[in-house]
Amino acid sequence: MASQIHVNLSPAELAYLHASLSLTPPIRPDGRSPDQYRPLSAETGILPGTNGSARICFADGTEAIVGVKAEVEKTGRRWDDDTIFLEGGGDDEEGGDKEKGSTQQGGNKEWVELTVEIPGQRDDDSATVFLAQMLSEALLADGGFVERLKINRGWHWKLYLDILLISPPLSYPLPLLSLTTHLALLSTRLPRLKSEGDEDPFFDDDWAAAPYLYPRDKKARPPVTLLVMAVGNNIIFDPAKEELAVADVVLAVSVADVADRKGKGVEDEDMDVDGRKLKLLSIRTVDPPSRLTPPGVPNASNTAYGHASAGATQQKMPEARAVESEAVEGVWKAPRGGAKLAVMGALVQKVLQKGGVADEVLDALEAVDLS
């Protein structure tokens, strides 16, 4: 899926960018270090009419607003009384969709509805749908999320997440939308349950008493999706659109803190960071716009310089192909093929690292005052 942001850069500019990003350490156009995020301003609780809301502005002016609305909904089928309710028992016992068997997960997924609105784009545009899919995938990959929405055996909360990109899409909006969603979920509160057991639920009118969906004293936090790219062997976080235009590979990596989940076989992927347990939820490759950039023409075959004979122009096609297949130093050529395994590994490692970027981002979002 191409991240449709079109960048008008000449092959020479692309080659220059690519070269400076391949240096060790890489030199980024805006002078950031490879794992430095752009500054952002964030606020929560901006919309009193929602259960949770957040707004984030990146320094480049892109801005997003997320609102969360919750509705009480009847769970498809009443639980059998003899079903043993497993506390935190994971996905397998969720949803009460006994008949459907293997599709039980599906019942759960319907509890969250996520929509992305990007100005000037149709809501059934493939890029928009893909964005929404990536964001909801990250949420649902963590089985603990839908678990939070359960009220009792017969009822559950249905959560509607509406994600609005306010600014024109200047850079690939995924990280912005993900961080805003994270913050909105952090600030989400659901009315306090007054009923007990499996009776029809009724709630406390007192909004001040409403508990957070993600209790502050617990460690667990909603997932964040980070955009990471690689140029050569360099790994670069939060790429700007110019940087994306020369990326060899772009990944959307979703991580979440799952500290309070009674762990079951998650140790292998876990990294214990200051008590924070980062868990890798999903990885998606994003088709970088670099693949669509026009290649540069080396001097050797540039007729304007008189190096190539008239005969070579006649046989343009095979010539052009040869140019594309062999790399000439300093001449831009769109990346072909996939990412190296080692780079992918390093990439994931770097995200989950103790004190790494994910950790830093979560810390920063944690510091946002929830109002």
């Binding site: 901006i46 502005c57 002016g61 607003i65 609102g67 100005p119 509607y160 509406d162 024109p168």
Partner: protein, 270 residues
Amino acid sequence: MPLDTSTYSLALLRVDGRRWNELRRLHAQIRTQAAADGSSYLEMGHTKVMCVVTGPSEPGPRRGGGIGGGAGGQSKDAEVVVNIVIAGFSSVDRKRRGRGDKRTQEMQSTVANALAASLHTHLFPHSQINVSLHVLSQDGSLLAALINAATLACVDAGIPMTDYVAACTAGSTSTYAANDESADPLLDLNHQEEQELPSLTVATLGDSDRVVVLVCESRVQISRLEGMLAVGVDGCKQVRELLDRVVREKGQRMILEGTVEKGTGLNDLD
């Protein structure tokens, strides 16, 4: 669901405690977003709207469900393309509206045509002015809020225009059937009042009595129209003052901060 407004005749106070001719709190900001050519944020009571303007620019490939207005698509004028996104969380009960929703399309076309009437579109031939509006919260007077926000954002974008297009709503305490003569006109309706009482949205150009937009969607006696229109036009003038103040304050602040040089024409800002 009829709402009990019988108390109005007793204390002459409306459901939210206002008098008949009072506006709700109008709060606005301009230049809220760095990336856009022009942007604004506007609250009319609990109705909250954000607007981002890009352009005038070269018309790109026609995307999305925006409806263009202005000058019948003649390319010697700039085309105003308006896109309205009503957020799912904006109303009390979550309701999702697709882009194809006719009401939204009608509002898009109304805002586009209203702006096209006051912007000097002939100065930007073969170009396009993109206005994207986001509705974050709805509590009545939605169209009015959208028009006001779009006006502010166009001011921020520095697009030459004749004057502010300011809008507000007006209503009447009578229902359409009741023929009582004691009915009072009301200014700036909230959602509750809009549901129950006849109302209209008026937008006027600048300080004049000239009406750019007049939309009435409820049944009302023709004799009520004059009163409602008069109150609405008067409300528009108040709104215009408020919008003007927002722009001036922002201008003053920008001069103080040194963002812009103080020009000779800006003396009246002090």
